[in-house]
């Protein structure tokens, strides 16, 4: 009843191809954006910005990148952390070595560098797939782990690859407080998410999905697998690289290579699996889930344990986290391989019929 599309007719293809063709959806998204830009800053305290919202925004961006590669183009990657690192350290180098380099430009250049590296490490995808491709991406991961730790040039001769930045500003806006950081990340994420959605519903997105679904047929109808796969690696690494730069500059302010280790790669992969492969919205769901889960566990497990008269140590919580993560991965893979995004769209389908059962 609430969600019916009665009376919403499309009279042009442009209307039909909107991102949110159903009016209720449009209102929802606009409301959400207004709330995010204006409402949240009024309601939320510093801790929530720092601990939940900013990581969520940055990791959503990274998850978008990974989803483009894994979900839309079907190329598995276990090396996303490496590209975050490339983005972060490249942006760092542009930032400190070039006098007066604007912050945004450093980020974009960091992303572009990451895209180039991504194309290079994407070359194996032209020959192999599946596990073998995963190994190639791991090669990227371990290489960057080492490069940023041991090759002093990249870190301006800092010890053990640890660098820090300060005094970030765009024109005259000083990005210092958690609120500033939040708004900056939110703005960037909105722009990039829109771009991602546009790409995935245009020709380039269809090329990616064609390669994912059946690359022999794709070649026959005139899609070049090389271009499609490498462009997926490039765009994905660009997004992940910018997320890496944001993670280092904005969230951490000072970081070392371990922030972008193979654990981070796995974390990003889990985000897109749980959130929904091949879905822009799924990337957000996945990121939210993975960011909130540890915090939720931290709050609830001791309480739950208390009910049964058990005390659960912090070590116990981190162990439980591992178990719950693993179990959830398996659960989603078995029950809903398309992740939370599919649950969401199924829910919406039911909502369209509500209150009727079918």
């Amino acid at each position: 009843m609430l969600y019916r599309e009665n009376g919403q007719f499309k009279t042009s293809y442009a209307d039909d191809q909107q991102i949110f063709p159903i009016a209720q959806d449009r209102w929802l998204i606009i409301g959400l954006l207004v709330f995010a830009f204006i409402g949240v800053p009024l309601l939320v305290d510093e801790y929530l910005f720092r601990a939940i919202l900013i990581p969520f925004l940055i990791l959503s961006l990274a998850a978008l990148g990974v989803n483009i590669l894994v979900g839309f183009c079907g190329q598995i990657t276990l090396g996303a952390g490496a590209f975050m690192a490339v983005g972060a350290y490249a942006a760092y180098n542009f930032h400190i070595r070039v006098d007066g380099m604007p912050l945004l430009v450093s980020f974009l250049l960091g992303g572009l560098t990451s895209a180039l590296v991504g194309i290079f490490f994407g070359i194996p995808s032209l020959r192999v797939r599946g596990l073998y491709l995963a190994v190639a991406t791991l090669a990227a991961q371990f290489f960057t782990d080492w490069v940023f730790l041991r090759v002093p040039w990249f870190t301006d001769n800092a010890s053990s690859g640890s660098v820090s930045v300060s005094n970030l500003h765009i024109l005259s806006w000083e990005i210092a407080s958690p609120l500033d950081k939040y708004l900056f990340c939110l703005a960037l994420l909105t722009v990039f998410a829109l771009a991602a959605k546009n790409m995935t519903r245009c020709a380039v997105g269809r090329q990616w999905m064609a390669i994912r679904d059946m690359d022999v047929a794709a070649e026959v109808i005139g899609i070049r697998p090389m271009f499609a796969k490498l462009s997926a690696f490039a765009v994905s690494s660009f997004y992940v690289g910018i997320a890496g730069a944001l993670w280092g500059f904005i969230h951490l302010a000072s970081w070392e290579p371990a922030a972008f280790s193979v654990d981070r790669s796995f974390q990003l992969l889990f985000m897109v699996i749980i959130g929904g492969l091949g879905s822009v919205m799924g990337s957000f769901f996945g990121a939210a889930f993975i960011v909130i889960l540890p915090i939720a566990l931290n709050q609830f497990l001791p309480a739950l344990g208390g009910l049964f008269g058990m005390t659960i140590s912090t070590a116990g919580i981190s162990h439980a986290e591992l178990i719950i993560f693993g179990a959830l991965i398996i659960f989603f893979l078995i029950k809903e391989p398309h992740g939370i995004a599919r649950l969401w769209s199924t829910g919406k389908e039911k909502l369209r019929l509500w209150p009727f059962p079918h």
């Binding site: 047929a217 026959v220 109808i221 070049r224």
Partner: protein, 260 residues
């Protein structure tokens, strides 16, 4: 059939193809004239699909050459074939199961899309106009094949007959000059076959597309094709118009067994 048949547009000369010790095609030569409907028939395993795969560049023959509009192709690959205006359907419907009908057919427009990634990301001017123009073209194909009602359905959920139609739609969206159809009516009932025949004839009639068609249903072949090539065990045993081929004793014995 009301179209005027033109000059030779595709010429296959002495094509031989082998997989290891298995000879799929032996010294096959035939030509295809513009605007005609050319059928390739033969018992199972005769090499018909291999023939299409050679034309299309999916297989590379050990010997022989493909001459397309007078241009000799030493190495054909699927991409070059697509660029040269050859499109095809598949015996096993190689559709993109994760995408909707519209998106599947839109992939057929890929070669005609000129704007780059960046413009598409911005949904800016040229990219937007191009996307909408191609959407209009695809809708024409959808109208032609009468599949408007399922245009947003993910292809994996469609019944077999409709999937075959979408496969044809995707090939048509490429606006091919030569259309290769690999058993387009396999697994269809009488009504579906009639529909498919109608579409094939309309494509040939309205757009002048040359059609090379593999088909088992003799009735269909005799009815709609202009000329027929008969293969058996990788060799050509007949070539000519349907009546001539039907009365060719070699063809008869290949199909019905030597005792006839």
């Amino acid at each position: 059939m009301s179209r005027e048949i033109g000059e030779v547009i595709l010429d296959l000369k002495n094509v031989s193809l082998a997989f290891g010790g298995v000879k799929a095609l032996t010294d096959i030569s035939f030509d295809v004239r513009e605007h005609e409907i050319r059928a390739i028939i033969g018992p199972n395993g005769a090499g018909k699909s291999s023939m299409l795969n050679v034309i299309n560049g999916v297989y590379r023959p050990q010997q022989g050459e493909i001459v397309l509009r007078g241009r000799r192709f030493a190495r054909m690959n699927p991409y070059k074939a697509a660029q040269a205006g050859i499109s095809r359907t598949f015996q096993n419907i190689a559709l993109f199961k994760g995408m909707s009908v519209i998106d599947n057919i839109m992939t057929g427009r890929n070669l005609k899309i000129r704007t780059n990634l960046l413009l598409q990301a911005l949904w800016w001017g040229p990219a937007r106009r191009e996307e909408l123009a191609h959407r209009a073209k695809v809708e024409e194909v959808i109208d032609f094949l009468e599949i408007q009602h399922i245009r947003k359905t993910p292809v994996g959920r469609l019944p077999y007959g409709l999937q075959k139609r979408v496969d044809l739609g995707r090939a048509l969206a490429m606006e091919p000059s030569i259309l290769l159809l690999d058993e387009p009516m396999a697994g269809m009932n009488v009504e579906e076959k009639q529909d498919m025949c109608r579409f094939i004839l309309d494509v040939n009639d309205q757009f002048g597309t040359t059609i090379v068609l593999i088909e088992h249903d003799m009735g269909v072949v005799m009815d709609i094709s202009d000329r027929v090539v008969v293969l058996d065990y990788g060799k050509k045993i007949g070539d000519g118009d349907p009546d001539a081929v039907r009365s060719n004793p070699e063809v008869v014995s290949a199909y019905l067994g030597a005792g006839h």
